[in-house]
Amino acid sequence: MKMITITLNGERTGIPEGSSVLDLLSIAGADRKQVAVVVNETIIRPADRSATTLKENDQVDLLVFAGGG
């Protein structure tokens, strides 16, 4: 399986080529957590996660919902 390298939350990470944002959430173990996903500064809406394919060198950030005060 061909791999690509992305930056996930500031760290270089290898993932299978063709992975979607939804796939990445599963790989990162974040598919059951409430997170916002940012790819190259653009927020990926939940409905668009399966159709958004990640590319080499993409900058991906998973932002956790923090509701406390």
């Binding site: 940012v38 939940p46 932002l63 923090a66 005060g69």
Partner: protein, 246 residues
Amino acid sequence: MPLSVEQKARYARHLMLPEIGEEGQVKLLHSKVLVIGAGGLGSPAAFYLAAAGVGTIGIMDGDTVDLSNLQRQIMHTTASVGTLKTVSAKTTLEALDPSIRIEPYPFRLTVENAPGILASYDFVIDATDNFESKFLIARACHEAGKPWSHAGISSFHGQTMTVLPGQTACYRCVFHEDGAPFGATPQGPVGALPGVIGSIQAIEAIKYLLGIGKPLTDALLTFDALNMAFRKVAVRRDPECPVCSC
């Protein structure tokens, strides 16, 4: 009006900063900031705003002080357990500086009361502890055109961003209501965590009021206390945001 002798002494450390000086201090004394939530985040935010000489500080919270609050909510004391947080906050802040005005709002922000209350303030601080309030503040500040600071904390991490309505990415651009864990039980947080994030909110308010520096806009600052790591994640406005694209 020029500063009094007492004010010159009180704010001496501000007066020596070229970014503030007497002109900036007078500006702060004439400014109004609304702090929504008088808990973990609201305590340091309101405390530092009061110490800085922000002339009018609104404190909104419908709760009373509980003993379990005192591990992190530093505006309140053992003696204030059982009293309204707005009353406790007013007592504490007026003890720090009797010349500033503290406006208590001993109830929650609602769709109905938001426009009337927000109208008279220059800046709003979201120091609430639940998602319902955070999404409500995002919408209310956008509709009122009020700049504001979002923050949220949980266990050992926190996040904050500043929003200039209609100009920069808003909370709702980043976090979607259909993904929010409404009603989730809060985790922790570790006592000093809101001190870090709430203080950043106070600095953002002061910078905005003075028109100095670069605001924390179009970015979410995240803080991981266990690894002592800050990250500033750039975000763009969502052209389809149901709040700020309308």
